[in-house]
């Protein structure tokens, strides 16, 4: 097993009855990379990501996440990844601290370490005075940062971010990407799906999915050269043009 590979899948397929949601995809994500997983709605992004996180079993194919087999070692994978969902899901009726404490405990962190790490995170985020505020009362931008912190407090090898910037204003999005960069510079692998193609420019490498297949996979600069496009938006439109599923 290559020590530099965080995620590797071969011919990964997911079928729901006659419908093939994910059709024989191949990809490798290097450690410490920010990997952008692009695709229109219904292209199969979420299904593929759910398989990588152990939320859903593949129909066929093989793969490893954080060095563990996605079929046989799903429990081990869960210990080594973090996950942030589309809606910045947190418990709205719990306070900021209670949420962090709950998720860190679930990931098996000892109480002392949770205090230490959470204190650190509150300082970096400037959220020290929000510790005891209910999550439902804090603004969306803060919620998003908090959700990311909750997903990464246990220092996972890989963090999966499912459309982490939906419905957030551009300034907050930029600040959020700073957080992603910081995590990546500390050696965390980031696997992120997004709708915003300007964000694709921030990724080390991106893949573009359409009709359940990966149609393109390379660094943003290389893709732009390949399709003779000025922006990732153009690249995406060229690649996704032939898609039959929207």
């Amino acid at each position: 097993m290559d020590k530099e590979i965080a995620i590797s899948v071969k011919e990964l397929t997911k079928k729901f009855g006659d419908f093939t949601a994910v059709d024989r995809i191949n990809l490798q994500v290097k450690k410490g990379e920010i990997f952008g997983f692009l695709g229109a709605n219904g292209a199969g992004k979420t299904t593929a990501m759910r398989m990588l996180c152990g939320l859903s079993y593949p129909t066929s194919g093989s793969g490893t996440v954080a060095g563990y087999d996605i079929f046989r070692q799903a429990e081990e994978i869960k210990r080594h990844i973090g996950y942030m969902s589309q809606k910045f899901s947190l418990y709205e009726q719990l306070t900021v601290w209670e949420n962090l404490n709950l998720f860190a405990t679930i990931y098996g962190m000892p109480a002392k370490k949770i205090k230490e790490k959470a204190g650190e995170a509150f300082r970096t985020l400037g959220m020290e005075d929000m510790r005891n505020v209910l999550v439902r009362e804090i603004p969306l931008g803060w919620k998003q940062k908090l959700a990311f912190t909750a997903a990464t407090l246990h220092s996972p090898d890989i963090v999966f971010l499912d459309e982490p910037t939906g419905g957030v204003d551009p300034a907050t999005r930029r600040r959020f990407w700073e957080m992603i960069y910081r995590a990546s510079s500390e050696g965390m692998t980031v696997f992120v799906t997004t709708h915003y193609l300007d964000e694709a420019e921030y990724c080390s490498r991106v893949s573009i999915m359409a009709d359940g297949r990966i149609k393109a996979l390379d660094s943003p600069a290389a893709l732009k050269r390949l399709y003779r496009a000025a922006t990732m938006d153009e690249v995406f439109r060229t690649v996704a043009k032939g898609a039959t599923r929207e």
Partner: protein, 355 residues
């Protein structure tokens, strides 16, 4: 703190902070019990009764005195047959007792205004009871029918409704609240966060069920205390059995809630499913209001799959008749079987969501 403890703590914090729901959940059983126990009753009070007699004897006087003294009756005095008829017609009397002396023997006829069936039946039974007891006292040789109502001599409706209300409340609170709370986590996406975490699905489920089980125990204590004090259900050793069978029923209701949450994907559908599938059948077909035995045969068979039917019938035996649990082994067996089956199905469905 262990993972399980922190999950339970999260659930408890949610319950405590959702003050309104908890208040409703704790107040509703009390209100329902008091409402059905006192206000809504099939007991008939103040039956306006008149007597018609062809000959005044000691015996008729004695019976009239009994009507006068009985708190359930308002005695309108002795009138002529024609007057009695017009009083009944005008709705100024609910029943008339006609005394006729034939061959030295007193014969009784009870005429009731049956435009309200419940009232007519109950008051006829009362009148019979009063008249018979005096006939017995006055004339031991009279071949009067002695009707004896065992276990509930005053025919108090609280006795009838308490088991029914309990059967309804637990389904309502356990099944509805558990399913809604799990489905709301599905809706908000936090369920996904738990599922991607190393927590075992078993722990997630238990972390949900245990807090609601504890809440149900609080409600059970509340309802039993009320039943045995305010509603004056006779207290006896059978209360231990009442508690055990109720706990079994609570477990079944929790399992049903789990099953609903595995099938429903939104809070509204979870509410609808538990409301339509559980509330209505419980109210209409469990024997809570309408006796199961009076239903057409197909409906009786259908009622067998309603858990509340078995629970209510067991509660009648344990609470009202105060017999030990050995008299309700069938009910206990059916409830246990249902609990295991529903739990197995719910866990299977819950795991199937991953695929």
């Amino acid at each position: 703190m262990s993972i399980f403890q922190s999950l339970v703590k999260k659930e408890v914090l949610h319950l405590v902070r959702d003050f309104r729901t908890v208040t409703v959940v704790l107040v509703m059983p009390v209100v329902l019990l008091l409402l059905f126990g006192f206000a809504i009753s099939t007991e008939v009070n103040n039956v306006r009764v008149v007597a018609v007699t062809d000959r005044h004897t000691d015996e008729t006087r004695l019976i009239a005195d009994r009507f006068r003294a009985n708190p359930y009756f308002t005695f309108g005095g002795t009138v002529s047959y024609r007057e009695a008829e017009s009083l009944l017609r005008k709705g100024k009397a609910d029943a008339a007792v006609v005394f006729r002396t034939e061959a030295g023997r007193l014969k009784l006829q009870i005429v009731t205004d049956a435009s309200n069936t419940t009232m007519a039946q109950t008051s006829a039974a009362y009148i019979e009871g009063v008249a018979n007891s005096s006939a017995n006292a006055a004339d031991k040789s009279a071949a009067a029918v002695v009707a004896d109502t065992l276990y509930n001599p005053q025919l108090k409706s609280a006795y009838n409704f308490v088991p029914g209300i309990m059967g309804m409340i637990f389904i309502l609170i356990c099944a509805m609240m558990t399913s809604v709370s799990i489905v709301s986590e599905k809706e908000s996406g936090t369920m996904n966060l738990l599922l991607v975490s190393p927590v075992r699905p078993r722990t997630i489920i238990l972390g949900k069920l245990v807090p609601y089980f504890l809440l149900s125990c609080v409600i059970l204590t509340l309802m039993l205390t009320l039943s045995y004090t305010v509603l004056e259900i006779p207290f006896s050793a059978s209360v231990v059995h009442v508690v055990w069978v109720s706990i079994l029923y609570v477990a079944l209701a929790l399992a049903l809630g789990l099953l609903i949450s595995a099938v429903a994907s939104t809070q509204v559908s979870a509410l609808l499913v538990s409301g339509v599938m559980f509330m209505l059948p419980v109210v209409l077909m469990s024997g809570m209001i309408f006796p199961v035995e009076n239903m057409p045969l197909p409906l009786q068979w259908l009622s067998c799959i309603i858990p509340a039917r078995w629970y209510i019938s067991a509660m009648r035996v344990l609470m009202v008749q105060q017999l030990p649990v050995t008299y309700v082994l069938t009910e206990v067996a059916v409830l246990s079987g249902m609990t295991l089956a529903v739990l197995a199905l719910a866990i299977k469905k819950f795991n199937a969501q991953k695929r």
